[in-house]
Symmetry: C2
Subunit: 253 residues, 2 copies
């Protein structure tokens, strides 16, 4: 936890009292005392610092902070994700990691090779995404929370929902081992608008029908090499390469 995050409702007259895992972190990990300064941010808001006014070192932990916000929210990421629902333990890690790296919206979708039981897990059925997203933001010193949208059926997603968001993207990439194109080839030179939608399949990959549907909608199948990567590794690897390509484009302009 490299920044303490709180929602705006928790703050009154620039003061906040914490008594949960954030208080425990300040006491036990940071080992802070009264007068010390910690990084502080408002969820989906600005960033700054907070001064410790008062602190209870024993359980139940309690910390009172004086908050000062002087820095903007982190910039919106140009990358959105379509992710075939991974197994719950993997989903938690991926949500946290992409939240740390920066992502706009994550569309969790059904695919043929997604195990049905994954949809019944508490994280998905209860839409308990926020703690994992916040975990990533706390790591990355960011405050902008990615959106997560759940699509329980493949065809309604690709045929009905997707056409409505398509215009937002200058580049539509389908991660696919038999992709043929390298990521760079799949990346149009002058993408406008400068937003990328990246679709990543389940362990075992997309089935032919799904690939066909994505291609019909204008996606370019892309591969980053012969190696088969786990979903969490692949997401970071692709996100990193796309970020670098976008940075290179913005330097050229």
């Amino acid at each position: 936890m490299n920044i303490i995050l709180a929602s705006p409702e928790e703050i009154t007259a620039s003061r906040i009292r914490l008594s949960d895992h954030r208080a425990e972190h300040i006491v036990k990990v940071l080992r802070s005392g009264p007068g010390d300064i910690v990084r502080f941010g408002i969820i989906n808001g600005g960033r700054g610092k907070a001064k410790i006014l008062d602190l209870k070192r024993k359980f139940p932990f309690s910390v009172e902070l004086q908050v000062e916000i002087f820095e903007d929210m982190d910039r919106a990421s140009p990358i959105d994700l379509v992710l075939a629902l991974p197994r719950p333990i993997m989903l938690k890690r991926v949500l946290s990691q992409v939240s740390a790296m920066g992502v706009g919206t994550i569309h969790l979708i059904q695919a043929n090779r997604v195990e049905k039981s994954f949809w019944k897990s508490s994280i998905v059925s209860g839409e308990e995404f926020l703690p994992h997203l916040l975990h990533g933001l706390e790591q990355a010193v960011a405050t902008r929370v990615p959106k997560v949208v759940v699509h329980r059926h493949f065809r309604p997603f690709i045929e009905d929902f997707f056409p409505n968001i398509r215009e937002q993207y200058g580049s539509l990439l389908l991660a696919h081992p038999d992709g043929g194109s390298s990521l760079q080839e799949g990346f149009t030179e002058k993408i406008t608008p400068e937003r990328v939608l990246l679709a990543i399949g389940p362990e075992g990959g997309w089935v032919d029908f799904e690939v066909k549907k994505f291609l019909e909608q204008g996606f370019t199948p892309c591969s980053i090499g012969e190696r088969i990567l786990k979903v969490d590794t692949a997401v970071i690897a692709l996100h990193s390469r796309i970020s670098l390509l976008l940075e290179q484009l913005s330097i050229q302009r």
Copy 2:
């Protein structure tokens, strides 16, 4: 497990009998039967396929295979790593993930912010790296095992050991949040030889003395942005960006 790996000593006259987790995987996950074909590779050797001759479906599992090797080992990676020793659970994940992505040698080193207890963990004290490296190779359908070298003291590593390997590298990159340069700027345009050594610090980062020592040896401090990433995320993100930059250089040539 996308490929069954075995050491050459296990194979006699193109046949091998498995009775460990590999046999269990063939029986329980792949649900293969006699006559079925599985991907097969020799550790630090070629790749091919194997035909199931005989199989015992109940515990203790047992599978006999007829092996045929017709494809080369995966190419050597141009990237080596210097990694401040992470906590054991993180180390296992990083070894597996970089092994899947492809890496030459991993130098695990001491740094000021490495907790001393990490050196006492069984994975480090017993040098039990191989299972985690193989796990990554089995995922990636690769056979070339990365080397792991342990350096328990920082100064002997950077002052005595490093100068002996320095000539191997065209580019020396130090991941450092205050790096100043972007990764691309830190990347010399015409690196010869085309090998990169990437140094990644502990959670909490390198201390000033360590940065000074790396810079004295010719490392360029590089950052991939303001966001603070966990070691496992940072390793994949940096490896991916460096791989893309190397691919771009090789296309230009």
